[in-house]
């Protein structure tokens, strides 16, 4: 199989990148390991107010529909239930489903593998009834299964707070959302939870979870004071980390950026990595908001098109600078630290390669 662009991961970033490349008539293949496109949007029933200009404000599941509708008239190959499993000596990408393994020869690869949830380890964390907030959200919104009756949420962030509210709306009693520390930036989150009568427990850690065959009880430690709670559901929301395996296999270099989720592939202002044929976008390029996911995908696709000789320099320059501006405002609204870390990450890699940043990028640097 041959293609101009191979996109690894059919979530929001992969779909938006594919719309960009396929609408230019460029041969595009998406590899998606699950049974359907859309990635984690499949269960995001919450409303997203902060989306790029070309999208109306809408719920995650509706955005998924919007993206798939835009993509469907375009000439594109979607390989569902297919995984990238390796790279051949000659650079072709190894793809497998359950029955066969075959190579894809791609001129450019855009990695949009997204992120995985971080977990938390405590005695009893393997008991049934202990799960990530993302898993709980899949159960209520996609599988229509109530994961428990009395829940404790571990870790406070925008996603865990959102899922806490959704679980409560399903009739689950939320005993609290707990975390070791709560920063001033979380003030809005805390207020939002308290509005919904959900208790926020600061300075609190889990000592252990117990139960025979399933979780029944949890011992928490609030600033030295221990307390036992009767629960049947613990949801862990410790944030996200980029999924990097395909980038490792593709021999991309990595750098550490705590604010982007830890280890992140190094990339230029084009979102091109140290491997000249590989671009990265979405949460795989650093944990960000949905707006950031969509915009980085467009920037990566745009630059892949430029490298393929489809777009001219000037067109890319004008659109890039527009997209970067939008990315700045979008990420700043959620957390300015993400954007600052992203720009620092890019600047570092340009300096390391002694490659000057494009002129349009200087204005962005000054803005930080």
């Amino acid at each position: 199989m041959k293609t101009d662009v191979l996109i690894i991961g059919g979530g929001p970033a992969g779909l938006n990148a594919a719309i960009e490349t396929a609408s230019r008539g460029i041969k595009t293949i998406i590899i998606e390991e699950s049974y359907a496109l859309g990635g984690q949007l499949k269960q995001q029933t919450q409303f997203f107010n902060n989306l790029p200009k070309q999208f109306d404000r809408q719920r995650g599941i509706h955005l998924m529909r919007t993206l798939i509708d835009r993509l469907s008239p375009l000439p594109i190959t979607c390989l569902l239930k297919h995984k990238m499993i390796g790279v051949y000596k000659d650079g072709r990408i190894g793809i497998a489903n359950d029955t066969e393994t075959f190579p894809i020869d791609a001129k450019k690869v855009i990695v949009t593998t997204g992120a995985a949830e971080e977990t938390d380890l405590f005695p009893g964390w393997t008991l049934p009834g202990v799960m990530t907030v993302g898993a709980a959200q899949i159960l209520i919104n996609r599988e229509r299964v109530l994961p428990g009756k009395n829940a404790l949420i571990v870790g406070l962030n925008s996603f865990s707070a959102e899922v806490a509210k959704q679980l409560k709306a399903c009739g689950i009693n939320i005993l609290g959302v707990m975390d070791k520390t709560v920063s001033v930036n979380d003030k809005k989150l805390v207020e939002g939870l308290e509005d919904k009568k959900i208790r926020v427990m600061v300075n609190t850690v889990i000592e252990r979870a117990t139960g025979a065959g399933e979780v029944k009880k949890v011992t928490i430690n609030n600033d030295g004071k221990k307390e036992d709670l009767d629960i049947d559901l613990i949801c862990i929301g410790k944030g996200l980390a980029p999924i990097l395996e395909p980038l490792e296999i593709l021999d991309c270099e990595f750098g550490f950026q705590a604010k982007l989720g830890g280890l992140v592939p190094k990339y230029y202002s084009t979102l091109g990595t140290s491997n000249p044929s590989v671009y990265v976008a979405g949460n795989a390029a650093g944990i960000t908001c949905l707006g950031g996911i969509l915009l980085t995908a467009e920037i990566a696709a745009l630059n892949a098109l430029k490298a393929l000789g489809v777009l001219n320099d000037n067109e890319v320059k004008v659109r890039s600078s527009f997209l970067w501006d939008e990315l700045r405002s979008m990420e700043s609204e959620e957390s300015i630290e993400t954007f600052i870390a992203r720009v620092a990450h890019i600047k570092e890699f340009h300096e390391e390669c002694e490659l000057p940043l494009p002129a349009s990028f200087h204005a962005i640097l000054e803005g930080c």
């Binding site: 499993i85 390796g86 790279v87 051949y88 000596k89 072709r92 393994t101 190579p103 021999d251």
Partner: protein
């Protein structure tokens, strides 16, 4: 803390850490081990970790491996449980014409006391029923086994630390200067030189680069081995089999490849597919197993295949230990190198293993 040592060991893989531990047992010297990265981030952490004796030839080399394997149970009593398991090793062959070769191997190894049996197909299948009925036979020795390399290196380091050996990680050596009665070693993270009376090179696949710092040409190659790992399977392989073994957690580690591609830790689909195919040839039931990951290890192999051990000719108080099969040989090499440094002579003659054999004295 001064930066003066009696002995500096460069490289903290299975060999460097074993030498450090064995030297520290004498409790006489100030010892520092320097590594460019972190222990187990290189070769010693990317191995199937066999303790493999039976087809190491010629027999004098097999003998070295045998003595080292014999030391493992004693080592465990001193440094703790390294999960050494003497499983016995099976090296199957498919061609009837390999019978003679197998018999010759058994004969040769018997001369030094390595017991190798040549098994018929039925005998092999009785020992290891999962093997393919297509094999013609196998050589077998009860001396072979495997070890957990992570525990091994960690426990060498812990035991050495208890004996006050110091360690400096993420600190590549950049320069070495030989002065009248000591060496000055410059590293990336320290402004001032580290001074030491003696230096031991244990750089594994980086031995060439480290040797160059002393103006030496260490004749070693870097060889990549790609290993694939299955999902955890119910225990079904009792022995260490040529090319594969089942780990304690049920995963089967499989690897046959050897490539000279420099220090490139990537895996390639070509080799992964070949490796999987070979595994199925050996054990047909593996065709149904899922492969969950793969990794590459870059091993060191001296040009002639045999260990380079001992004093470095023409360099005062400088030593080298570079070899393939570092996991198998580490208990013995640690013991012998410590004897050489502390006593000046070794209980097994190392003359055959000297770097001198590669040097051209025109």
């Amino acid at each position: 803390m001064t930066d003066q040592y009696d002995i500096v060991i460069i490289g903290c893989g299975v060999i460097g850490s074993s030498i450090a531990y064995h030297l520290s047992e004498y409790k006489q010297k100030r010892i520092l081990v320097i590594d460019k990265g972190f222990p187990l981030s290189g070769t010693s952490g990317s191995t199937q970790a066999w303790v493999w004796v039976h087809n190491k030839v010629p027999s004098w080399y097999g003998e070295l491996s045998m003595y080292s394997a014999e030391l493992y149970p004693f080592l465990e009593r001193k440094i703790g449980d390294v999960e050494y398991k003497r499983t016995g090793g099976i090296a199957p062959f498919f061609a009837q014409t390999d019978w003679d070769k197998a018999l010759r191997l058994a004969e040769e190894q018997a001369e030094v006391g390595i017991k190798v049996e040549v098994l018929t197909r039925d005998q092999v299948l009785e020992k290891e029923p999962a093997l393919s009925p297509k094999i013609a036979g196998a050589t077998y020795s009860d001396m072979d086994g495997n070890v957990n390399p992570f525990r091994l290196v960690e426990l060498y380091i812990k035991a050495a630390k208890r004996n006050e050996v110091e360690f400096s990680f993420y600190n590549p050596v950049t320069e070495m200067v030989m002065e009248k009665d000591h060496y000055k070693i410059y590293t990336k993270n320290k402004k001032d030189a580290i001074t030491t009376e003696r230096v031991i090179l244990a750089g594994g696949p980086w031995s060439k680069e480290i040797g160059e710092l002393l103006g030496l040409d260490i004749p070693v190659k870097q060889v990549r081995g790609q290993v694939i790992i299955t999902e955890p399977l119910a225990p079904f392989l009792k022995h260490t089999i040529g090319g594969m073994r089942q780990a304690e957690n049920g995963e089967v580690l499989i690897g046959f490849s050897k490539e000279e591609v420099g220090y490139d830790r990537r895996t390639t689909m070509d080799v992964i597919q070949e490796t999987a195919q070979m595994a199925i040839n050996y054990i047909p039931s593996l065709a149904k197993a899922n492969i969950v990951r793969s990794f590459s290890g870059v091993r060191v192999i001296p040009e002639d295949g045999f260990p380079i051990l001992g004093k470095i000719p023409d360099k005062k108080n400088a030593y080298i230990a570079a070899m393939h099969s570092g996991v198998t040989l580490s208990p013995l090499v640690g013991t012998l190198m410590a004897e050489l440094v502390m006593v000046g002579e070794t209980s097994i003659c190392l003359k055959r293993y000297s770097l001198k054999r590669f040097m051209n004295y025109a």
